[in-house]
């Protein structure tokens, strides 16, 4: 039984990492109805930039600030160069545009900082200790803690602050928000910067475990089922679905995998997503869209 719990806990901790990526997607979708395919590449860029600055012998805090600056610049360019001409276009067009953005970020990031895989060492202790027979890694716990703090901050930001309310208004209706005097582009800018910060956290979390390399942008593909299980525009949904997916895929891999040849981690989250969507087409916590002719 303790083995079961160990697998479960490991899965949950991995799930937190998925949730970090899914959070970025959910944020942008919530605030601007843009489904941002570039979220994974933003994490890659953040990881690459951080490693790049650390290699220039910057202290950690300075490197983090510089990385933040990179993400802010990216947000500016995205909003004012790519999204601004597309304001009144259907969401599909915006989705496709972020598709192009994903390629752009990937190409530019890799031409500046190189394509080879790099290690990222932040000095977070990686000790394992056991509580009642179940092993925990202090490293995973650190990121779980960061994710919880991030979640609380984001929920507070969206529900309580003035800017957060403006962002929710923008997500409800672009034109109505504009007409009551909310600057649309500035609201989007804030969203993309916040998504950039989430991308930094995700990039650091995944970069330290997997190494910073091209395949980091694929973690977006693992976060997508998390996103649709939770509902595209739900921040708590992203976290809860992340936990469900992380636990589910790890349990499936360990207990089901041996019977079918293993490696089912790659698609099991999608299978879970299909099952969930069959019963709840807008995810567990997503806003249901009522359409009229």
């Amino acid at each position: 039984m303790s083995f079961f719990f160990e697998v479960l806990i490991t899965g949950l901790l991995v799930g937190v990492m998925y949730a970090l990526v899914a959070l970025g997607f959910a944020l942008i979708f919530k605030a601007s109805d843009v489904f941002n395919m570039a979220q994974g590449d933003m994490s890659l860029l953040a990881g690459l930039a951080l490693v790049g600055f650390l290699q220039m012998n910057f202290p950690l805090w300075l490197a983090l600030i510089c990385t933040l600056a990179v993400m802010v610049i990216l947000a500016y360019i995205t909003v004012f160069v790519i999204l601004r001409p597309l304001v009144a276009r259907p969401p599909l067009m915006l989705f496709m545009a972020t598709f192009g953005l994903a390629y752009l970020i990937q190409g530019i990031g890799q031409s500046i900082w190189g394509t080879d895989a790099k290690g990222l060492e932040l000095g977070i202790p990686d000790k394992s200790f056991d509580v009642a027979g179940v092993f925990f890694s202090s490293f995973d716990l650190t990121f779980a803690g960061i994710a919880v703090v991030l979640l609380i901050l984001l929920v507070w930001f969206f529900q309580k602050t003035r800017t957060g309310r403006a962002l929710r208004a923008v997500s409800d209706d672009h034109e109505a928000a504009l007409s009551v005097g909310i600057p649309l582009l500035r609201a989007w800018l804030v969203t993309w910067i916040v998504a950039g910060i989430v991308a930094i956290v995700a990039g650091v979390a995944w970069g330290t475990t997997l190494g910073v390399q091209f395949s980091l942008s694929y973690i977006a593909l693992k976060a997508l089922p998390v996103l649709i299980i939770g509902g595209l525009d739900s921040i708590p949904g992203a976290i809860i679905a992340g936990l469900i997916v992380g636990a589910g895929e790890n349990l499936a891999e360990v207990f089901l995998g041996p019977y079918v040849g293993g490696g089912i981690q790659t698609f099991f989250p999608y299978l879970m997503a299909l099952v969930v969507l069959y019963f709840k087409p807008y995810g567990l916590f997503g806003k249901e869209i009522i359409e009229r002719v």
Binding site: I82, G100, L271, Y278
Partner: protein, 352 residues
């Protein structure tokens, strides 16, 4: 010889329904066919035929499929490359293992792929929009996993099946030119079929579903049937394209050739080429196939050998930049540019 509708009397129903109502278009198309069938095989080197023209046709065909699904029926699918993989393996198993003749096994691969496609299209009945787009990614990963782990299909962990020697009625297809003709003929026929499909009742239904699905349902479009047909047709095209590209270009079915990045690239092709156009599928595919070569040539002017990582980075940047640029400047892609040129030509030499 002006590019005009006037003076071009449509005195039969057939002429009224013609794909190219304007004579100059018709002549242009015939010239293109002559170039494709006669000039290219005579002039181009084997390298050009095998490495550029054949992939161009095959990706064009696959992009037509995706365009029918995403551009006409409005069901975004980001797992299209997986159906190419299904087609590739299905045709090799049919042809190599069961000795089905070549053409039936290529088309049969399309049918197998269409069957799988309908299965993965089932979620589209319940979910839509971005939820569906992500759900289609499931097909990519499930199919990839199945092909690698199902020993009967791939014969091992690496998932590679070599193509046997090809022959039609005992006539061996061994040179590059013969393979070129095989892919050209199949692609040509299927492209024509697609063009007519989207001009007919089914195409209209798809466009109605794309524009507003519940409104389409109210005016009597059978939503479920037509969505599933769209999935079937799209994946049929993907399957045929996958089997053709395996037979005529790759030489072995390998799951790595149908990675999720290929699905993304196909999506990029139809955006750059033009959503909801058959011509655009080919323009996008041509752009995508020629881009790396173009960059290589232009960079080659400055340095002797272009390092592969720089090449691939610049390729990604240009590809991404162009997707964004096209969406901003010309959301309907290169096909719309061509349309604009034709509209201008119709008035030339007058301004309006």
């Amino acid at each position: 010889m002006f590019y005009r509708e006037c003076g071009n009397f449509k005195d039969t129903y057939a002429r009224d329904m013609a794909i190219f109502p304007i004579p100059l278009d018709r002549y242009g198309f015939i010239v293109m066919l002559i170039v494709a069938f006669l000039v290219i095989p005579l002039v181009a080197s084997d390298y050009w035929i095998t490495n550029i023209m054949v992939p161009f046709y095959c990706f064009g065909l696959s992009a037509i499929g995706l365009n029918i699904l995403a551009g006409y029926a409005g069901q975004i699918s980001i797992g299209h490359a997986a159906f190419m993989a299904v087609g590739a393996y299905a045709s090799l198993i049919l042809y190599g293992r069961y000795g089905v003749p070549l053409i039936p096994s290529i088309l049969g691969a399309g049918v197998v792929s269409a069957g799988v496609g309908v299965f993965f299209g089932l979620p589209s009945l319940k979910i839509k929009g971005f939820y569906l787009a992500i759900a289609t990614l499931a097909s990519q990963f499930i199919i990839q996993w199945l092909i690698v782990h199902w020993k009967w299909v791939s014969g091992g962990v690496f998932g590679t099946v070599e193509t046997p020697n090809m022959q039609i009625f005992g006539w061996a297809l061994d040179t590059a030119v013969k393979k070129y003709y095989l892919s050209l003929c199949i692609v040509g026929v299927l492209a024509l079929f697609a063009k007519n499909l989207v001009r007919g009742q089914l195409g209209r239904n798809w466009m109605a579903i794309r524009d507003m699905d519940f409104a389409a349902e109210i005016i009597g479009v059978n939503l479920y049937r037509d969505k599933l047909i769209a999935f079937a047709v799209a994946t049929f095209y993907a399957g045929v394209a996958g089997s053709l590209i395996t037979f005529c270009y790759y030489g072995a079915a390998n799951i790595e050739e149908f990675h999720v990045m290929v699905s993304f690239a196909l999506m990029g092709m139809i955006i750059i080429g033009g959503l909801g156009t058959i011509l655009g599928s080919f323009l996008g595919a041509g752009f995508f196939v020629l881009l790396p070569i173009g960059i290589n040539q232009s960079m080659g002017a400055f340095m002797k050998v272009v390092p592969s990582d720089i090449l691939s980075n610049i390729e990604t940047i240009i590809f991404g930049g162009l997707i964004a640029l096209f969406l901003i400047v010309e959301p309907f892609g290169m096909a719309r540019l061509w349309q604009t040129i034709k509209d201008k030509l119709r008035l030339w030499p007058f301004p309006y």
